[in-house]
């Protein structure tokens, strides 16, 4: 848990626009997803992948995680995307239309071949699958366990609502069940859960509300289409100082309890036992990733010793 990687904000960058690509080092997001899929017109698929390759070849001192969204494995472009881009060593692949575990397994096998060819450790390239169709949502729990390369499951609400033949609303009631299935799949597999983009870049208030909602549900990060959305997302995901202070008190309290030979203790009138400690540990690990605290919470702090 100590090496938990922050992925609060994942920014899409169109793969065929030099003016956006070359700003990647400056964006303050945790990860970028360079897009060869929907942001690139059919006539420019070949040119975009070459541009992305040369950009990454030249971007040596990387200061954020780099994922490339390739075209779906069912298209004629996916293989050329991988062949052209992987030698520039991105951190991983954002896989669109990950409707079944078999699709992820297929990519996993191809990545292994490239790793052997490039002399990289097997498992180097990560996968972030997009759960963005009705079928994908139904299969999400199985897809989440399809490969050890998965860093998370990413929910794609735009395509999902299209396959459901419904409209996407700003309040998102229509997404609840799908989001929960993605979340359960991710949590059961022990990987991160990344929420969809919010399309209206001028409506910061609704962006904040949606981000607060998905954080409450259990998502660990959110995709974005505009760097202006980064600050709000980071602000919502940052642990609040009072949460951190309380979590530190909880850890102290449970230590005192164990010294007294019990696993439960009262802190300011509230019962503290193992589930509360687990939640406090998660807050502190997130706070540590944000540079707010130095403490490292280990298994012994959570469970005590025999």
């Amino acid at each position: 848990m100590a090496d938990y990687k922050l992925r609060r904000s994942l920014l899409y960058v169109p793969g065929n626009m030099p003016s956006m690509l070359q700003n990647i080092p400056l964006f303050q997001c945790d990860a970028v997803q360079i897009d060869l899929e929907d942001a690139v017109p059919l006539s420019e698929k070949d040119a975009a992948r070459i541009l992305v390759r040369r950009f990454l070849d030249n971007y040596k001192n990387r200061n954020k995680e780099i994922l490339v969204r390739i075209n779906g494995l069912d298209t004629k472009w996916a293989l050329d995307d991988l062949k052209t881009v992987l030698p520039a060593i991105p951190d991983g692949i954002r896989l669109p239309k990950a409707d079944s575990p078999e699709i992820v397994e297929h990519l996993d096998t191809m990545l292994t071949e490239y790793e052997e060819e490039l002399g990289l450790q097997v498992g180097f390239f990560k996968i972030l699958p997009s759960i963005e169709t009705a079928e994908g949502v139904l299969n999400a729990p199985k897809t989440a366990k399809a490969s050890t390369r998965l860093i998370g499951l990413a929910f794609g609400a735009e395509d999902y609502t299209a396959t459901m033949e419904i409209n996407r609303t700003k309040t998102g009631e229509e997404l609840f069940n799908a989001r929960m299935n993605v979340l359960w799949g991710a949590k059961a597999a022990g990987i991160q859960a990344i929420d969809s983009i919010f399309a209206d870049v001028n409506d910061m208030e609704s962006l904040r509300k949606e981000t607060e909602l998905i954080k409450k549900l259990g998502f660990t990060g959110k995709c974005m289409i505009n760097p202006r959305q980064i600050d709000i997302i980071h602000d919502v995901f940052a642990p609040k100082q009072e949460e951190v202070d309380y979590a530190l008190e909880v850890i102290e309290a449970i230590k005192r309890a164990r010294e007294m030979g019990t696993g439960v203790i009262s802190l300011k009138g509230k019962m503290i036992d193992r589930p509360v400690v687990v939640r406090a540990a998660r807050v502190l690990n997130t706070a540590r990733a944000h540079g707010m605290v130095d403490v490292v919470i280990n298994e012994e702090d959570i469970n005590g010793t025999e």
């Binding site: 065929n16 030099p18 003016s19 040119a47 070459i50 541009l51 390759r53 030249n58």
Partner: protein
């Protein structure tokens, strides 16, 4: 490789360039750029280097540059060459 037919790649957006390659006897490079005065020699050097890498010794290469960086110059030329005959 050989330039077998006309090939074009790139856009006229800022930080990008449009590259056109055509079959010709001998090699010629024509550069139009918003930063031609300061950078023509560097742009030319990058184009020549990329052509040499792909073994292109003849063709008419013309570019219209909007302040592209080296990686974009290389990438757009490679895309145009690929479209002109297969790298």
């Amino acid at each position: 490789m050989q330039i077998l037919k006309k090939g074009q790649a790139g856009t006229m957006q800022s930080s990008d360039l449009m590259v056109t390659v055509e079959p010709a006897d001998g090699l010629s490079i024509e550069i139009e750029s918003t930063v031609k005065k300061q950078f023509e020699h560097l742009i030319r050097a990058r184009l020549e280097e990329t052509l040499a890498k792909h073994g292109v010794s003849s063709g008419k290469i013309s570019i219209s540059d909007r302040g592209a960086l080296d990686y974009a110059i290389e990438a757009r030329l490679e895309a145009a060459l690929q479209r002109a005959g297969g790298v």
